[in-house]
Each structure stands twice: as structure tokens, then as C-alpha cells.
């Protein structure tokens, strides 16, 4: 590939290129000293002044809940918002397997540097070195903090904490609470948050959804939210705004995300000037329960921890694919991950495990019911583990997962192998942030899955919980004070043009959605968008497919604003209206994801371009051309559903501590 190649995106007028990102604001000096330096350099806010400073936090998952609790403890005035009926429902709760930390309690060679290295390598060298090092550095503090809160991690008989292994690594550094680690960590953060609500440092707004960001005089100064129970549109102003609103995997309609997970908070901020970085980096998780039919509303993940003991296989011969798996003899089974990747085996990173599952199914060796022309499933078999460890040991490790599988599929996984298939699970892309987790809008900070910086093009298992809590407990509280020290800023009046503009936009949009009164339901548009995204911007992407997807999405978006039917009123609980607003934003995001995927003519991590692969079919990066973060600027488009050509800003990735290599897990 040479520089003379005309990029398809530019050639089709789909985007333009702007100035590169000049600075990520990480301090100079060796990587191991940067965070200490930044904490020292960041201005302090006197405790007496903290109560004069207002901070708004959107989202109450691990990133938002922990930040709200910590900033409340520090003495700031915090307002925290979630669309669910309680902060404890945020989707962090569904994370199963565990949380990584460089504690080296197993004395197996782990260290901060190794966790940093594994994360950068796992991300296929597309994450920002400085941020990832800091993540590894604070990881051990997270475990201490959570234990102090009473999080019931798994323990050994001696009373000390137990660890297990996850994909893409060769040490045991994952702390866990059976298959409910996310739940237990979130309840810990939630309880810390509720303690601050009782102490009146934090005011909590449940069943409230952020629908617009207020930007005045170049700073993020507040949000417009809708009270989902009364329908009232409210204005909340502050000195800084934190988005911890999670990921946008639901753009695919079917994903392991919760039904309500959405991009609206991030997308509204993007439309107001926050850059969106690497939006096409999507994690397709290899171990999910396969789709069973047209009615399906969501997909269910089976924890990656199952790959510690389960063995993944498909029949060697297509003729065996509809046989009872127990009747297929050992020599006719293809344990393809163990065959292709002998050193990592079933514990290769998620992107690789997913793509290989797709490959064997594309070859016609998938199992389970036919979906279209292919069977879309592979076996995850515990027969060996049950023989080796006994059924009781397997049950105590994975019992709740096995029960869940049995309930959903009606099959007993103790007796017959599970069937699994990849599904959309997480997005590495998100709003662009600097070293301080500040977006391109001053005063707007972004934490957790909603930002982009730590996981590159592929996230390792048990690292999402780590990042959410690192951001919320330890990083943001130290960096936001440098910004808040410049405040309090002048109070904004309710009739400030920026406030009026944001409120009016929300009111008009709500009215318009209810007035269209077309023929099609919100869900039907969402499902169709999801099909387009999965087909053309899913596990494998190509120039031809992406160009087609962009056309299809534009057509669908145009139809949405003409033909959607949203019943009910604006002044009550109206779940169709809530969904309509979210799907409207997904219809814009989807196009940007496809443009990003189209412009990146290389394969890296979860982004696999059919045109860029090695002879063995592995992802082939092009570091000479694409060693950068793609930060997209919204360039205008006033009406609903209108988008002008986005502008690409490149942030060059600099690797000083780690040598760039082509990943290998063989």
C-alpha cells in the first residue's frame, strides 16, 4: 500500500481531513513517572472551595458511580443522572468474569509493566501508551478499595483472594466474584454513592435521560435532561460535566448490551464539538449464546472465564454437523483454536477467537440450527473438565452460567456441549479524550466505555471493569481538579442563548418525533439498522460492503424521520419516545462508524478488513499509514438526521516503552 492510493472515503467525498491533534497533554519524562508528575502538577482545590463547585455526572455504572462517590467524598457538589430506576441497574452489573490487577499475588511474573504490555499488545498497538500505563499502575489500588468496601471477591481456604486467567495473557491476575464480578463491583460503587447521597454531597436523579449538552463560551456548562416519569424537560448547570454513559454496541440492535444502553449522551456531545475517536473499533465477543430466532431482543454472553476449562471445537467433517456431538469421536473433532494457536489455545484474545469461529462456520462446519445458509455455532465442551475436576468443582466455578445457558436454550450443558457464537459486546471506540480524560470541549470529561483511550482496537477480558473503576476512583478525581481550580465559572442564566438553544432543540425534537405518526415502529428501524451494521460493519468489513452500508443507512435515516410511528404523549412515561430518540442517534452514529471503518484500510484487532490479511488469514496492520487515532469532528447539519461531511483529525500514536510488533499468539 502506498501513499498514492486514493482513500475510498475521500474519493467518495465521505470525509475531509483537518489539522492533526497537537497534544494529548501527558507530562514529559519516563513512562513510569508520568502519572505521579501529573498528579503533582494538577492544581489543587482547597476543601472549603470544593463545595462551591458543581459537577454533573451522566451515568452510574462503574465509571460514573465511582466518580460520583469519590467527588462527593472530596466535597464537591455532585449531581448524578441515570435513565434506570436506580444507579445499581447500570449495565456494568452484567459483567461476569473478573477484573484485572497487577497485584502479582500468585508470584507468576506479573507486574505493572506486564499488564501494560499485555493490554497494549492485546489492543493490537492502537491504544495510547501513556493512558494504558497509568491504567496498569492504578489497577492494584482498585482491588484494595473494593475489598475495603466489602466486595465479596472469591477467596481461597486460607482467606486470601483467589485469581484466574483470562484470554490474551499467561499470568493469573484476574480477581473475580463467581460469575458476577460486575454486579459485586457495581454494588460496591453504588453503596459508596448512596452513602454520599445520604451525606448530601451528591444529588441523584434516576429515570432521567440526558438529551443535550450545554456549551457556553467554549466550555461544557450543563445538560438538558428529560424526567422520564413526568416528561418534564429540565436544565442543570455546573462547572464541569462528566459523561460516563457507556458504550454504543446497541447500534447493532442485537448485542449483549442492556436494552437501554445508548449513544445519546455521547452523540449529543459529539454534535456539540466533542471528537469521536475510532468509532469502528467494536468488540465481538466469542462466547455468546447463538441467535435462536427472529423474535430475539438481545444476546447473552457466557463469560470468557469458561474458556479456562471449556474446549472449543467443531466437527472436522461437514456431514457430522447435525449429529449429536457426543456421538462424534475424538478423531473427528477439530479443536481449531488449540490447533492454530498452540501456545494460547482456547485463551487467545477475543477478536481472534471470534473471527476463527466465523471462519469455521463459513466453511460449513458450524453447528446448531441453520441461520440463512449456514449453521452459526461452535461447541464449548466441558466433558474433559468434568472428568478432570469433577462435576461439583465445575458447578461451583461456573454453576450460575450453566443454569443461565440451560434456561435460555432448554439444553443441559453438563451433559451436552454448549453452543456459542460471537456477538457484539463492547466498543473500544468512543469520545476522544486527552491524558486528563478531557474531551475536545473544555470542561467535558469522559470516562469508562464512553471514552476511547485504553483498549486500542481490541480489549482484553476483565479490563473493562478495571478501566471503569480506574477512571472513576483514581484518574478523573485527580485530573478534573486541575480544571475545577479555574472555577467557579460565572453562573449561567436560564435565558443564556446557549441554554435556550439546547432546551429548544430538545423540545422541538420531542414534538417532532411524536408528530410524524408514520407507518413503522421504532424497533423495526432499529432492527434494520442492526442488520446493516452486522452484515457490513461486523466481524469482517470491505470497501464495497461499507459503501453499500452508508447508502442503506442514509436511506433508512431519511425514512425514519418521515415514517416512524411514536404513540403516546410527551408528558408521561413514554418508552417508545425514549427508544425513538436513541435510535435516531444510532442512525447517525452508524454512518460515522462505517466511514471510519472504510477509511482505515488495514486490519487491526476487532477491525478486520477483508483486503488486509496475512497469508494465514490473520489481521494485517499497516503501521506506516495507520498508526494513529482517528478523531472525527462533527461538521454541522442542523436538522434532525442531517449530517455534513465529518472532518478527520489524526492523533499519531507514539510507542516509546513498547516495541511495535505484529501480534502473534501461536
Amino acid at each position: 500500500m502506498t501513499d498514492t492510493t486514493v482513500n475510498a472515503g475521500i474519493a467518495h467525498g465521505l470525509y475531509t481531513e483537518g489539522e492533526p491533534v497537537a497534544d494529548t497533554k501527558a507530562p514529559a519524562g519516563p513512562i513510569a513517572g508520568k502519572w505521579t508528575q501529573r498528579k503533582f502538577d494538577a492544581a489543587l482545590v482547597n476543601p472549603a472551595n470544593r463545595r462551591k463547585l458543581d459537577v454533573i455526572i451522566i451515568g452510574t455504572g462503574l465509571a460514573g458511580g465511582s466518580a460520583a462517590a469519590t467527588l462527593g467524598e472530596a466535597g464537591y457538589n455532585v449531581k448524578v443522572f441515570c435513565f434506570q430506576d436506580s444507579p445499581r441497574r447500570a449495565h456494568s452489573i452484567a459483567a461476569q468474569g473478573g477484573i484485572n490487577a497487577a497485584k502479582n499475588y500468585k508470584e507468576d511474573g506479573d507486574s505493572v509493566f506486564r499488564l501494560f504490555y499485555d493490554t497494549v499488545k492485546g489492543g493490537d498497538y492502537r491504544s495510547r501508551e501513556t493512558n494504558v500505563y497509568r491504567l496498569a499502575e492504578v489497577s492494584a489500588n482498585i482491588i484494595d478499595q473494593c475489598v475495603a468496601q466489602g466486595v465479596p471477591f472469591a477467596r481461597e481456604y486460607g482467606g486470601l483472594l483467589d485469581n484466574r486467567s483470562f484470554g490474551g495473557v499467561q499470568v493469573s491476575r484476574t480477581f473475580y466474584a463467581r460469575g458476577q464480578t460486575g454486579q459485586q463491583l457495581l454494588i460496591g460503587a453504588y453503596q459508596a454513592l448512596e452513602r454520599q447521597v445520604a451525606a448530601k454531597t451528591v444529588e441523584q436523579f434516576t429515570r432521567h435521560e440526558m438529551l443535550e449538552l450545554v456549551v457556553a463560551d467554549g466550555r461544557a456548562r450543563g445538560v438538558i435532561v428529560r424526567d422520564l416519569v413526568t416528561g418534564e424537560i429540565e436544565t442543570h448547570l455546573a462547572d464541569a460535566v462528566v459523561l460516563a454513559s457507556g458504550g454504543y454496541g446497541n447500534v447493532f440492535f442485537l448485542s449483549t448490551n442492556a436494552m437501554g444502553s445508548n449513544v445519546t449522551a455521547s452523540w449529543r456531545a459529539h454534535r456539540k464539538g466533542a471528537y469521536m475517536a475510532n468509532p469502528c473499533y467494536t468488540q465481538i465477543h466469542p462466547t455468546c449464546i447463538p441467535v435462536s430466532g427472529e423474535h430475539q431482543s438481545k444476546l447473552t454472553l457466557m463469560s470468557e472465564s469458561l474458556r479456562n476449562d471449556g474446549r472449543i471445537w467443531v466437527p472436522k467433517n461437514r456431514e457430522d454437523c447435525d449429529k449429536d456431538p457426543r456421538q462424534i469421536p475424538e478423531e473427528d473433532r477439530d479443536y481449531y483454536l488449540e490447533r492454530i494457536y498452540p501456545s494460547f489455545g482456547n485463551l487467545v484474545p477475543r477478536d481472534i477467537a471470534s473471527r476463527q469461529a466465523k471462519n469455521v462456520c463459513d466453511e460449513g462446519r458450524g453447528v446448531g440450527p441453520m441461520v440463512g445458509d449456514f449453521r452459526r455455532g461452535v461447541y464449548l465442551d466441558f466433558a474433559d473438565a468434568i472428568q478432570r475436576l469433577g462435576r461439583d468443582a465445575v458447578e461451583s466455578k461456573y454453576g450460575n452460567l450453566f443454569d443461565m445457558y440451560a434456561r435460555i436454550t432448554g439444553e443441559n450443558p453438563y451433559e451436552t456441549p454448549m453452543r456459542i457464537y460471537p456477538a457484539v459486546h463492547y466498543v473500544m471506540g468512543g469520545l476522544w479524550v486527552d491524558y486528563d480524560l478531557q474531551s475536545s470541549i473544555p470542561g467535558l470529561f469522559v470516562t469508562g466505555e464512553a471514552n476511547f483511550s485504553d483498549h486500542g482496537a481490541n480489549r482484553l477480558g476483565a479490563s473493562a471493569l478495571m478501566q471503569g473503576l480506574a477512571d472513576g476512583y483514581f484518574v478523573l478525581p485527580n485530573t478534573i481538579r486541575d480544571y475545577l481550580a479555574k472555577g467557579p465559572f460565572d453562573k449561567l442564566a436560564a435565558d443564556h442563548p446557549a441554554v435556550v438553544e439546547a432546551r429548544t432543540r430538545v423540545e422541538e425534537r420531542t414534538t417532532r418525533l411524536l408528530e410524524i405518526n408514520g407507518e413503522r415502529s421504532v424497533d423495526s428501524f432499529h432492527r434494520e439498522l442492526g442488520n446493516i451494521m452486522w452484515e457490513y460493519c461486523g466481524m469482517e468489513r470491505s470497501e464495497e460492503g461499507l459503501l453499500k452500508a452508508i447508502d442503506l443507512i442514509r436511506g433508512l435515516r431519511e425514512e425514519f424521520w418521515r415514517n416512524v410511528r411514536v404513540l403516546g404523549a410527551a408528558d408521561t412515561l413514554n418508552q417508545s419516545l425514549e427508544k425513538a430518540g436513541r435510535v435516531a442517534d444510532f442512525l447517525e452514529l452508524g454512518e460515522l462508524m462505517c466511514i471510519d471503518a472504510l477509511h482505515r484500510r488495514e486490519s487491526c484487532g476487532g477491525h478486520f478488513r477483508a483486503e488486509s490479511q496475512t497469508e494465514d488469514g490473520e489481521a494485517l496492520r499497516h503501521d506506516d499509514e495507520f498508526l494513529y487515532v482517528a478523531a472525527w469532528e462533527f461538521s454541522g447539519g442542523d436538522g434532525d438526521g442531517q449530517m455534513s461531511t465529518p472532518v478527520l483529525h489524526k492523533e499519531d500514536l507514539v510507542y516509546e516503552a513498547i516495541e511495535l510488533k505484529q501480534r502473534s499468539y501461536k
Binding site: R88, A94, Q191
Partner: protein, 245 residues
């Protein structure tokens, strides 16, 4: 399969409600219960009738957002959450009644959606360990005997769905509260606030309008996470000790 559904419809907190009968056809047994309601809502939308409001989020049985009384049972006939209940648990031609949680402390917002804010306020009253960020010692500083750790974990599995309250003839939240008290009092970190916690939480529980416990045990039977009734004994024991001073 074809089903007859009798569903509680209520336009708002101050509106009268009523049971309305709907028919659904061609329901697959692989559908979840909530996917069956999705199908009904699509049909209503197509007919120009407002869809039925109900809560759900993760649909994996862990967030605790969903919760319906299904033919008189909290979360229906299986020991699981409403979202994890599948239609293979029902038979063709069945008549199913669907109602919201019924409790004074959980007022109806609309149709099948109730306000469970009282649970948050009970946690605010003391359902936490005070440990400011940054103040924690090394995680291995205080080993926890495995039996205590396991019991704490068991109690901590509560998802705060409210099925225990809905199933209780007194609409008591003692199982919910007992689970939190047990989780925290089994751990060494939970000891300093143990006595103050239980008194404060029980006071808040009563103030919210939940009823008293009369050892019926319906709560534990309805609990999708199988929280055992003996967490209530742990709570009562702590409360007795605390009140004796």
C-alpha cells in the same frame, strides 16, 4: 402457541387502572416472556394503541430492573427473573394474568412500572461500609475465612428487584434488608458500623411503609437468586444486640 393475556393498564399514578385482555398468536417457546410482550407491543403500535409500559434492561437476570406478577407469582412459575423466564414454561391456550408489583411502598408509575426508590433510601440509611477512596489498606491485610466470604457472597447476590416484597402478604422488605445486613456483617470490614447500620436501615424500612415480617417465607420462595430466609434471622439477631446496647 396462542395465549390470552390479562394485563394491568394504568395511565399514571393517579389514574384508575384495570385489567385488559389481549390475545397473542404464534408465540415461539424459545421466546423470553418479555420478548412475547415485545411482540404484543409491536401489534398494539401497528393498531395505533399505546404500547404497554414495563421495565427491563439487561435481560440477563442480573440488573434487577424487570419484575412482573405473572398469574399471581412474582417473576412467574420458575425460580428466575421475569426476563429469564421463557415461553416453554407455559402451554398453548393458557390464560396468563400480568400485574405490577403490589405494595404501598412501590407506587405504580404506569401500567406495569413501579417506583422502587424506597430500596435506594434503605441503602442510603446505612447499607454500606464507609471507606473513602484512597483510604484502603492492601487487600490481603485482612484475610476472610472462606465460609464467611461465601456467606457474604451468597447474601450479596441480591439484585434488588423487589420480588420478595411483591410476594410477601405484608409487603415486607425484610429479605432485601436482611441480605444486605448479612453481606456486610459477615465481613471484618463491616464490623465497625454493624450495629448502627441495622437500626438505621430498619427505621427507614418502616418509614417507607413496608410491612413487618411474620415468617411466612414467601419472599425466599420468590427470590430469583435464592436468598435464604435465614438472612432475616441474622438481621433480627443484630437488631436485638444493637437495641440492647
Amino acid at each position: 402457541m396462542n395465549l390470552t393475556l390479562k394485563i394491568w393498564r394504568q395511565a399514571g399514578p393517579r389514574h384508575p387502572g384495570e385489567m385488559v385482555t389481549y390475545k397473542v398468536t404464534d408465540i415461539s417457546e424459545d421466546m423470553s416472556f418479555l420478548e412475547m410482550l415485545d411482540v404484543l407491543n409491536e401489534q398494539l403500535n401497528a393498531k395505533g394503541e399505546e404500547p404497554i409500559a414495563f421495565d427491563s434492561d439487561c435481560r440477563e437476570g442480573i440488573c434487577g430492573m424487570c419484575g412482573l406478577m405473572i398469574s399471581g407469582e412474582a417473576h412467574g412459575p420458575e425460580k428466575t427473573t421475569t426476563c429469564q423466564l421463557h415461553m416453554r414454561s407455559f402451554s398453548d391456550g393458557e390464560v396468563i394474568t400480568i400485574e405490577p408489583w403490589r405494595a404501598n411502598a412501590f407506587p405504580v408509575i404506569k401500567d406495569l412500572v413501579v417506583d422502587r426508590g424506597a430500596f435506594d433510601r434503605i441503602i442510603q440509611a446505612g447499607g454500606y461500609i464507609s471507606a473513602n477512596t484512597g483510604s484502603a489498606p492492601d487487600a490481603h491485610a485482612a484475610p476472610v475465612p472462606k465460609p464467611a466470604a461465601d456467606r457474604a457472597f451468597m447474601a450479596a447476590e441480591c439484585i434488588g428487584c423487589g420480588a420478595c416484597v411483591a410476594a410477601c402478604p405484608n409487603a415486607s422488605a425484610m429479605l432485601f434488608m436482611g441480605a444486605k445486613v448479612t453481606h456486610l456483617s459477615e465481613l471484618p470490614q463491616g464490623q465497625p458500623e454493624r450495629m448502627a447500620r441495622v437500626v438505621s436501615m430498619v427505621d427507614q424500612h418502616d418509614e417507607e411503609g413496608f410491612g413487618g415480617c411474620t415468617n411466612v417465607g414467601a419472599c425466599s420462595q420468590a427470590c430469583p437468586k435464592g436468598i435464604p430466609q435465614d438472612v432475616i434471622s441474622t438481621l433480627n439477631k443484630d437488631l436485638r444486640t444493637a437495641l440492647r446496647g
